[in-house]
């Protein structure tokens, strides 16, 4: 690419992406300091950052604040639940999706039930989960797992059904049996779609963990969020929201990096 100068290049170099967040932060700060909003309800950005810092590293002096230095523990609780629920959903969803996509009989047996249950929002399952599993981790795992399961199974099925007929014929004429075809051809061909399902699934898992922790268990970021709201600590609430957003972003990026590595052949295709 030639190095171009002039108005077009400088327009490209202008930091466009930070413009909106900057404007938003300014507006937020002004709104708090000029008392455009009712005092004490919305904390200023500086307050949020300060509380977040104390929440992570603890207050310098001994204090009665229940949040001081508890951020890491809350993050670990929530992350562990998300990871466990997500793994559970993947371990069930991917193989099931493979069979539903591959075998017409399995599809007729399982697919209608999945499609029937899928429109039930994950939040609607909460009372049921608590009634069955109680106020324990199992409730949270059930909700997270179920939420992540749908996009994983649906996208895997879709990926399998999209397998190129020619590749199946090629594998057959080279002597491949059903199990080889399923693992070496169909699964590999469905992988891009499976990763789409996984990325959607982990997003839903973070939604589900917050809902579950607000009601079904007594630890983690969701619990802190609801608890802080009750005691009027909006600064902690906002810090929690930002924490969850950050964790969601990081886990999505991690999956994306994994996908880029596993699907190297595909990025080559895009450049060819």
């Amino acid at each position: 690419m030639a190095t171009s100068t002039g108005p077009r290049a400088s327009r490209r170099r202008f930091p466009w992406p930070v413009l909106l967040p900057l404007a938003f932060l300014t507006l937020w700060t002004l709104a708090v300091h000029r008392h455009w909003v009712v005092e004490g309800i919305i904390p200023s950005p500086v307050q949020v950052v300060q509380s977040w810092y104390w929440w992570i590293f603890g207050l310098p002096t001994r204090s009665m604040s229940p949040y001081s230095g508890t951020w890491v523990a809350a993050v670990l609780y929530s992350s562990r639940r998300v990871l466990q629920g997500f793994l559970l959903a993947s371990l069930v969803g991917i193989p099931l999706g493979l069979f539903v996509g591959w075998n017409r009989l399995v599809a007729r047996l399982v697919d209608p039930s999945i499609q029937l249950l899928r429109p039930v929002p994950i939040t609607a399952w909460l009372p049921f989960a608590i009634a069955v599993f109680g106020i324990y981790d199992a409730s949270a795992l059930f909700l997270i797992g179920l939420g992540a399961f749908y996009p994983i199974v649906v996208n895997t099925t879709h990926g399998v059904r999209d397998t190129n007929l020619l590749l199946l014929r090629a594998a057959r004429m080279m002597g491949a049996g059903e199990s080889t075809i399923l693992t070496k051809v169909v699964f590999r061909s469905a992988l891009p779609s499976i990763f789409t399902g996984l990325r959607l699934g982990i997003g839903i898992a973070w939604t589900a963990v917050i809902v579950a922790e607000m009601i079904a268990v007594k630890s983690g970021l969701g619990y802190v969020l609801w608890d802080a709201y009750y005691v009027g600590r909006m600064d902690i609430c906002v810090a929690t929201m930002l924490s969850v957003g950050l964790l969601g972003f990081v886990s999505d990026r991690a999956l994306q990096l994994l996908a880029n590595f596993v699907l190297r052949w595909r990025t080559l295709e895009a450049h060819a």
């Binding site: 090629a170 080279m174 052949w265």
Partner: protein
Amino acid sequence: MSDRPVIELSDVWKTFDKGGRPVEALQGVSVGIARNEFAAILGPSGCGKSTLLNMVAGFDAPTRGAVRFDGELVRTPSPRRAVVFQEPALFPWYTVLDNITFGLRTRGIAPSAYRDRVQTIIEQVGLQGFESHYPAELSGGMKQRVGIARVLVMEPDVLLMDEPFGSLDAQTRSVMQELLLSVWERHQQTVLFVTHDIEEALLLADSVSVMTARPGRIKKRLAIELPRPRALEVTTSPFFNELKREVLALIREESVKAAVERAR
């Protein structure tokens, strides 16, 4: 040539269901291909020649009649009847080498048993240096070389080729035709080659069966008595041109018929 044909189609009919309406693709096709013969099936597009090849491959079953390979009815695909498709149909997630050895690995053959043979064939088809490339990094012609190499390494009894050079540009196509000639002269495998390109059929094959427009029947079978080894230069000889004129007349009749049929 041996007494009994390796591939034998006897009175094969094929009817497809096209939106509830039956469409006759093949009408009583009978053809035999002898061992070590390079047989071409030539016909206008849509005449059912790919259908014919798919039935020999075991991808498709005839509505009536019998397709036999080595005296036995064809039921399923088999590595003994290897196929080169028009689209290379390579596995995009495997490297060139892994694509070429797929058939061997699938059958659990130890790498030490095939390493030398694979290397020889990679050199014969001109893929040395590309072993660790992915298909996406290759040109159309190079992809098709992989498609040919992966079936040659399996040492099949017959090679079924479905317009393998049909999607290549003219230059690459003639390079690939010469490559196939040189490879064939070394391996002398039985080949069933489907094409709509008259010159290609005459250049490569020992026999050319001309098909009619749909519904497909074998209109005429010609023996191509051009001396081997052949090279592209043969296509400029007077004898070649005489053959070409004969086939052209046969084909033109059918192409016109097909066009009229489509217009109706």
